[in-house]
């Protein structure tokens, strides 16, 4: 197992890890000068704020007001990661009530399309911090999108309930 430090220098989340960001309304776009970005359903009816306490990536307060299609937290990863034997993600998080996240590796294809490969484990979390670790082995994925112009990790957060979610840390692994 290796940490792909050479591919992630400087640390794409360093700004969030080391600094603090005050309460900010959730809108589409980059988060606090990091490579993380929110991509919510532009027609979604919700109210959400995030902030970044010291030593943590972010804390999110989300309230569902009506129909919301999705809320994604995106982190670009090097496109050549798909050439490795496997790709993994490790995150530490907590929520004020039980919620479930889905995680996927999204490939942006040369033909302008995209393909999502979902991690098998769902990120179930409640009031106690949990460490969620999962890997994707491309050799076991049928129709693995080997050719991609860009890849990103996407965390799909729940959209039909109110919750507070704290993302303490997020790391990518590859070999």
């Amino acid at each position: 197992m290796i940490w792909p430090r050479d591919r992630f220098c400087p640390d794409p989340l360093a700004g969030l890890r080391g600094g603090t960001y005050a309460q900010t309304p959730l809108i589409a776009g980059a988060i606090g000068g990091s490579d993380l970005s929110w991509q919510p359903d532009p027609k979604g009816d919700f109210r959400a704020h995030w902030h970044s306490p010291q030593g943590r990536l972010l804390e999110l307060d989300y309230a569902c007001l009506g129909a919301v299609g999705w809320l994604g937290l995106h982190l670009p990863v090097p496109p050549d990661l798909g050439a490795g034997r496997w790709f993994g993600v490790a995150l530490r998080h907590a929520a004020d009530r039980p919620i479930t996240l889905r995680l996927c590796l999204r490939a942006h294809l040369p033909c302008a399309g995209r393909e999502d490969v979902f991690f098998l484990r769902m990120g179930m979390v409640g009031p106690e911090q949990v460490d969620h670790i999962d890997v994707i082995d491309p050799a076991r994925i049928i129709d693995w999108p080997a050719q991609a112009q860009a890849r990103e990790l996407v965390l799909f957060l729940p959209v039909t309930q109110d919750y507070r979610w704290a993302l303490h840390d997020l790391r990518l692994l590859a070999a």
């Binding site: 010291q54 030593g55 943590r56 804390e59 907590a94 004020d96 106690e128 979610w165 704290a166």
Partner: protein, 289 residues
């Protein structure tokens, strides 16, 4: 130094090496470090607090803490036990609190005696209380007044709270002058009288497996419980209904715990218990005969 002007008060009564270890890790976190030795010399000289006092005879941690509080020169104060350790999140918590005005900040702790998934953890009851109050997560969350009686149901450990010094002095809140359970008055009366309460899910304290801990004392000494509970029960009896509704079962559970887990019994215990339940029939009804 962190951005919070905070003093550390340690009531010590024996283990010098543990106290030295604690003080070494306190450097850079606290603007003032006060050690009050409870009748015996504790410091080995390896670490030097800003102020060291020794009670002329053993008077218990409550008296030692009150003396330490009287000597605090900082805006905020953390009371700690010599045989515990600061949690990994304490520096970040103190930074979070810099520039904030609050009367009490309650934070999480981990207990070496409990393990969950291989890690230290809080006991199940405490975790449930944090979750029930909706305060289980969040680096720093203001606690609404309606949630404070719930928060008061946590164990009364003084080392999981940061107090504003002037708040304790203005409200004349101190520790009970007892050997055990001296932390009940600041815990309940602090939360009752505070205007601004913050909660943090950061782990600011690590409770060690200690020997001769006061919380492990057994037998007749537990009769101190009633001396610590009584003044609080009198105040709570005049407080709003949610406080009374939370305090009565909390106090009854503590009495049960002392009897079941710490072998509290004997004529002194029985006499003190009888006097207490006569004065506080609302708590008496919660006690199983």
């Amino acid at each position: 130094m962190t951005g919070l002007d905070i003093a550390l008060v340690v009531a010590a009564r024996g283990d010098g090496s543990a106290l030295d270890g604690l003080l070494r890790t306190a450097r850079g976190l606290f603007a003032q470090m006060i050690v009050v030795e409870d009748g015996v010399s504790c410091l080995t000289g390896a670490a030097r607090p800003d102020l060291t006092l020794r009670l002329p005879w053993r008077g218990g941690a409550g008296r030692a803490r009150n003396l330490g509080l009287a000597l605090v020169d900082c805006d905020y104060v953390l009371f700690f036990d010599a045989d515990d350790r600061f949690g990994p999140d304490l520096p970040a918590l103190l930074d979070d609190l810099a520039g904030r005005r609050f009367d009490i900040c309650a934070f999480r702790h981990a207990d070496a005696r409990l393990a969950r998934r291989g890690f230290w953890a809080e006991d199940v009851g405490a975790r449930a209380i944090w979750a029930e109050a909706g305060l289980a997560i969040g680096a720093l969350t203001p606690v609404a007044a309606r949630l404070r009686p719930q928060l008061a149901c946590l164990p009364a450990y003084p080392w999981t709270r940061i107090y504003r010094t002037a708040f304790l002095r203005e409200k004349r809140i101190g520790f009970a002058p007892t050997w055990v359970h001296n932390d009940i008055p600041p815990h309940w009366l602090g939360l009752l009288h505070a205007q601004e309460v913050l909660a943090s899910d950061r782990i600011g304290a690590l409770r060690q497996r200690g020997q001769d801990r006061l919380s492990d004392r057994r037998g007749a000494i537990r009769a101190d419980l009633f001396a610590a509970l009584d003044p609080v029960a009198r105040v709570i009896a005049r407080a709003a209904a949610p406080w009374q509704a939370r305090f009565a079962p909390w106090a009854a559970d503590l009495i049960h715990w002392a009897e079941e887990e710490r072998a509290a019994s004997g004529p002194i215990w029985q006499a003190e218990k009888r006097r207490f339940v006569e004065r506080h029939p609302d708590i008496a009804t919660r006690l199983v005969a």
